[in-house]
Amino acid sequence: MAAPLGRGRRYITLLLLLCGFGVVLFRLATLQVLQAAELTVKADRQHQKTVSLEGVRGTIVDRHGKMLAMNLEVPSVFGVPTALDSPAKTARSLSPVLHVRADELERKLRQDRGFVWLARKLDPEQGRRLERMPMEGIGIVLEGRRFYPKGPLLSHVLGFAGMDGEGLEGIERRYESHLHGEKRVTVLQRDALGRTVFPKKMSNEQSPAPGHQLVLTIDEVIQYIVEKELEEAVARAEAKSGTMIVLDPSTGALLASAVSPRFDPNAVSALRPDRWRNRALTDAYEPGSTMKAVLAAAAIEERVMKPDTLVFGEQGRMAIGNTMIHDHEKLGWLSFAQVIQKSSNVGAAKAGMALGEQRFYRYLQSFGFGERTEIDLPGEAAGLLKHPREWGGRTLASISMGQEIGVTPMQMVSAVAAIANGGVLMRPYVVSEIRDAQGQTLKEVQPHVKRRVISPETARTVTTILEGVVTDGTGGKAAIAGFRVAGKTGTAQKIDSRTGRYSASQFVSSFVGYVPANNPRLAMIVLIDEPRGEAWGGTVAAPVFNRVGEQVLNYLGVSSDVSVKLAMASGKP
């Protein structure tokens, strides 16, 4: 009797076990097969936190491959408030390493959150110190930080990138689409209690494509010479600021561009935006007598003037309408070449009137005034060139001597570079090549001819006149021993913002020209804004042209125009 009963119990037990296993198997199948995808996503969401970090930004180098801007992987520190036993103690330990106040760190660490940034993009040395002091609830991830190893050199052209790696100014902004790398993602892990959050590993999770490399037309050494001489000139003249540009007139390639005072793009957060504005492009000014170089080109091209055409200087005073035009000295009969060399306003006004409004306006447009030069940098101003129908009774005379017209330094040097280039206006450019991360060329920029503005003959004639400015005129201090220099001085009164009239004490002193005049290698403009004391362009700006020109020609190995007889050794003893 016992056997059937025992067998029955065994069957029941077996049945119950089978049912039990069946339920477990069913649940297992539901979780692992039917709901697998949905639950995996849910689990990942609970256990992982994805942090998006900017990609590796491309480098910027000068024409000889010298590094001007590059990214470094530097540590960023985060905290996990829920995993901390003593936020106050942790904050006190971290404060001297992160250079952040302890109470500020403690406030962050007391937040009811699973992840909080404590300090981003630290110096590599800070990262090494942090690695030596491991703390529960504190972690490190690597992020790209932009470094400008040359400090302030070329800062106004390079611009800078922001905390999240996006270009905010200068080349960094203009070429953002090329420079920025692919976004990358770092996955941080939480434990089962949701307490700790740490990266899976310190290295990159993925290998996204880095940004492209930009090769500039800038020469680091020329840039240094320009910045040094400009800084010294601004300091010497106790001026408000200074600007200098060096172009290769035959191509339009920008060799150097400086604004004084400079700034360090590695530390821009404490600076006001006007410190990083590239005044060479953004600020229009009344050019004063440097405009007479363009006037001369137009007048000679239109044959209304020849270098030897006689012009009466009216003893330095001439009435136009209700106003009076003055010269800096009493001048009688002058040749047109002397009008330019002695920078006679009366003579220039007469040449302008001989040219006429429409023709002069056409040449001003043709030389690029009133339109952007289209240089590949952001923030360029078009300047101010009114249409003749808006001109007043004195405007023609005023523009002839560089008033009532607003130009940027880049426009002015481009226009004069066109004369240096045999009458052909080039588009200035600063990026010559774009390469991928492997160094393969993606794009090579070729010099771009905008248009012919004057004939080669006129360009040669104007060059001779402008050489006279340096040899016999107001620009004597721009002369470089052994080289023929062509250029024009400018001393422009600034508008007094309080009175709305021309100031008697605020000037823009400038010199624009090219060297060697017979085979130009450099076209340069120097602008000194509001120098104190003597403000003549020939006194304040021309010497900077001389000092930079001499050093740069020497650096480039340009041989002197002056022939020197040398007894060469025959090689025989």
Binding site: M67, P149, K150, N204, V221, K228, L553, V558, V564, L566
Partner: protein, 110 residues
């Protein structure tokens, strides 16, 4: 025969296990090397930044003038000329040029 079959079977099992273990070992090695590569690349970049900063013209000029007592060449001290050897009528000047310091030049002028 049976023993041989068992031995071959065991060898295959060991081979399989060894292969799996080695794959895991090499995998760890690859990971370690990747981390090392990443560290070396970071170090290379840091050195590149340091090199660029140390070779900045600003710094070189400052060291040359303040520490080494050097001065920039003064006006006329460097003259660029094109070299033309004497007694060679076939010679055509090339773009290459010669730098002559003034103290050498004064001897030649004499």
């Amino acid at each position: 025969m049976k023993i041989l079959a068992v031995l071959i079977g065991l060898c295959l099992v060991f081979l399989f296990v060894w292969e799996r273990v080695d794959i895991v070992r090499v995998g760890y090695q690859v990971e370690r090397l990747k981390v090392e590569k990443s560290r070396l690349e970071r170090e290379r970049d840091q050195l590149q930044v340091k090199f660029s900063a140390l070779s900045a013209p600003d710094r070189i000029a400052k060291m040359a003038t303040e520490q080494l007592g050097m001065v920039p060449p003064q006006k006329g001290q460097v003259i660029m000329v094109q070299a033309k050897p004497a007694g060679d009528p076939q010679f055509r000047p090339t773009p290459a040029e010669v730098r002559i310091a003034r103290n050498d030049l004064s001897d030649w002028r004499r």
